[in-house]
């Protein structure tokens, strides 16, 4: 599980001397879902294209499954599936014909190809539109067809560029489910997105991009601790007397804010839900609500950049 399938070292891309990816270093382990997150124009797509050998690398190097995409792009592209941002298919061909073309480019023989196409289309839920022209497909269907293409390829790594952008919520949920299934097939998934919340739910680890740099790297929890200072917010709603003082006394609680009668927000350095419940019960109170606020990527992201800005201003 721990073998590194993608290793980037000081990867740099300059367009006409202007750096758009500035020496990033990261690695992706076999079987994980890795998110490249950041605003548009932060260098995510360029990084992906460099990994596939579709654009030249200005400096540094990257190994994908042990191959160098600059010198051995065919080896890399044989093993890596790529779903581009707003993927396109030949409108005049049917879904199956589009996949058959890909299959032949990969080098599958005809019988094997048709079988795989059927199972891939089944898997992404497009089996009933197999022989319909792609021109009639919605955005979500095209994205799913793109994933079917990756399945057809038996890719070891799936690289998905903005897979959920432009999809309605239902289609997004379905697509994320398909992405989770990829992981179960032991496919390493690398996905890029500027929609943080959507991605948070599927990613094992994320890299936050900003202006060509990776500014944060790790699991969402780790990043939360790192950026938010390891505090959890616990919202408590309970009826009972003298709860104020008792809540403050719970070990691990650093601060208590009172929002109103019977409503508090506890700042804690660990998860103290059970202790809180026990405390309220112990005081003979009635627990109405107990909610822990999980750190969201959105929060981490905005907090990080606000801190950066403040830090910058302080330094100046």
């Amino acid at each position: 599980m721990s073998a590194q399938v993608i290793e980037a070292q000081d990867l740099t891309k300059r367009y006409n001397g202007v750096p758009v990816v500035k020496g990033i270093t990261f690695s992706v382990a076999q079987g994980e879902i890795f998110g490249l997150l950041g605003p548009n124009g932060a260098g995510k797509t360029t990084t992906i294209l460099m990994m596939l050998g579709l654009t030249e690398i200005s400096d540094g190097q990257v190994r994908v499954l042990g191959y160098d995409p600059v010198r051995e792009p065919l080896q890399v592209k044989r093993r890596v599936g790529y779903l581009p941002d707003a993927v396109g298919f030949y409108d005049s061909l049917t879904a199956a014909e589009n996949l058959r073309y890909t299959g032949r480019l990969i080098g599958l023989d005809a019988g094997e190809c048709d079988e795989k196409i059927r199972s891939a289309l089944d898997h992404v839920g497009l089996h009933d539109v197999t022989d319909r022209r792609v021109a009639t497909f919605s955005r979500g269907m095209r994205q799913r067809l793109g994933i079917a293409e990756i399945l057809l390829k038996d890719a070891q790594i799936a690289i998905l560029d903005e897979p959920t952008s432009g999809l309605d919520p239902q289609a997004t949920i379905e697509l994320l489910e398909i992405i989770r299934n990829l992981k179960q097939r032991d496919v390493t998934v690398l996905l890029s997105s500027h929609l943080l919340d959507r991605v948070q739910s599927v990613c094992d680890r994320v890299a936050l991009f900003s202006q060509g740099n990776i500014v944060l790297l790790g699991s969402v929890d780790e990043l939360g601790r790192q950026v938010l200072g390891g505090t959890f917010n616990l919202d408590v709603e309970a009826e009972g007397s003298g709860l104020d003082a008792r809540l403050k006394a719970i070990p691990g609680v650093t601060d208590v804010e009172t929002f109103g009668p019977n409503r508090w927000r506890l700042k804690t350095d660990r998860d103290v839900r059970s202790e809180t419940a026990a405390t309220v019960m112990g005081a003979g109170g009635k627990l109405l609500r107990l909610a822990v606020e999980v750190p969201s990527l959105e929060m981490i992201y905005t907090r990080y950049f606000r801190d950066e800005e403040l830090g910058g201003r302080d330094a100046a």
């Binding site: 792009p73 065919l74 790529y82 032949r104 480019l105 293409e149």
Partner: protein, 322 residues
């Protein structure tokens, strides 16, 4: 740094797919119908004339291609229409992949860009070759049927060579159209540019070049040598147009009595080229005819290669992202 793997990988697949696209597309059907019908009509008219005029001609069949019926010869129509077909096929070969957003997906399959570009060119050329061959057969068949004279082996050989040269001529325009489709993202811009070049080179240049040369090197009726060198200059300028090259090649190939590419120009001035020791009007052997226009044939093929290579270099350096 050397890349690994064959640039030809996937070439057959790309060619097959593109060929299938071409053969099933409505646009190509329309263009080809236009060409076939025009060719058909012109051949019928010229056949009528040949039957009336020529009683005994050893190369009767070849006259079908060159004899003008109502001012237009079959060859002249080919000179104008073949570029149109090639441009029609080629102007959106590459930019349509950009516009349909299929380019990055296809290039992420294990093939090099070389295979994609070359496959598209081959498929386009094959499409043109198929339709030209079909048309050539229709014309020959019609001629045999109407004239009722069995053709000699040499006539068939000369007609076949003309077919090959026509395909090479189409190659130049296909390569030009493809270059436009690589350079311009918008299919409309690419089509207009290619058509503009076609209009200029095929129609304006033959009109302009004579006047241009007259301004700098006036043609005087002096000694034969002066006259010939003056003609050579005009011809050299004319030859910047592939249409002029094609015309020269075909006029020599299809008429065994033509011994020089300057003959028709001299004839227009009421002069004739008589080499010492030759019998005027006697037919040349096929090989000699080919030798006369060999440089022109090579030039046609070379310009195809040059245009393709420019497109190739631009395409290799292009970013795939939309």
């Amino acid at each position: 740094m050397q890349r690994e793997g064959s640039p030809w990988r996937g070439l057959g697949v790309v060619t097959g797919k593109e060929l299938a696209d071409h053969l099933s597309s409505v646009r190509i059907l329309v263009i080809e119908l236009l060409v076939v019908i025009t060719g058909f009509v012109i051949v019928l008219v010229s056949l009528q004339q040949i039957r009336n005029v020529t009683a005994e001609d050893p190369f009767l069949l070849l006259r079908v291609f060159t004899r003008s019926g109502e001012q237009l010869s079959f060859v002249f129509v080919l000179t104008l229409l073949v570029p149109l077909v090639a441009i029609g096929l080629g102007f959106d070969l590459v930019n349509s992949e950009h516009n349909q957003r299929t380019l990055s997906r296809i290039l992420s399959q294990p093939i090099y860009r070389d295979a994609l570009l070359f496959g598209k060119f081959l498929a386009g050329l094959a499409t043109i070759a198929i339709s030209l061959t079909a048309m050539w057969m229709v014309v020959l068949g019609l001629a045999l049927y109407q004239l009722g004279v069995p053709p000699s082996g040499e006539e068939i050989a000369r007609a076949a060579l003309m077919l090959v040269v026509t395909i090479a001529y189409a190659g130049v325009w296909l390569a030009l159209a493809m270059l436009c489709s690589v350079v311009f993202r918008s299919a409309a811009t690419a089509a207009l540019t290619a058509l503009g070049v076609w209009l200029f080179i095929s129609i304006l240049w033959p009109l302009l070049s004579g006047h241009l040369v007259n301004v700098f090197v006036p043609l005087q009726a002096g000694s034969p040598d002066e006259l010939l060198s003056g003609l050579a200059t005009r011809q050299a300028v004319m030859r910047l147009s592939p249409g002029a090259l094609f015309g020269e090649i075909v006029s020599v190939l299809l008429d065994p009595s033509v011994r020089s590419t300057q003959q028709s120009q001299l004839a227009a001035m009421g002069l004739a080229l008589v080499e010492p020791g030759s019998i005027p009007g006697a037919p040349l052997p096929l090989l000699q005819s080919v030798l006369i226009v060999w440089p022109q044939i090579v030039t046609l093929i070379a310009s195809t290669i040059v245009l393709f290579v420019i497109g190739y270099v631009v395409f290799q350096r292009q970013e795939v992202r939309a």
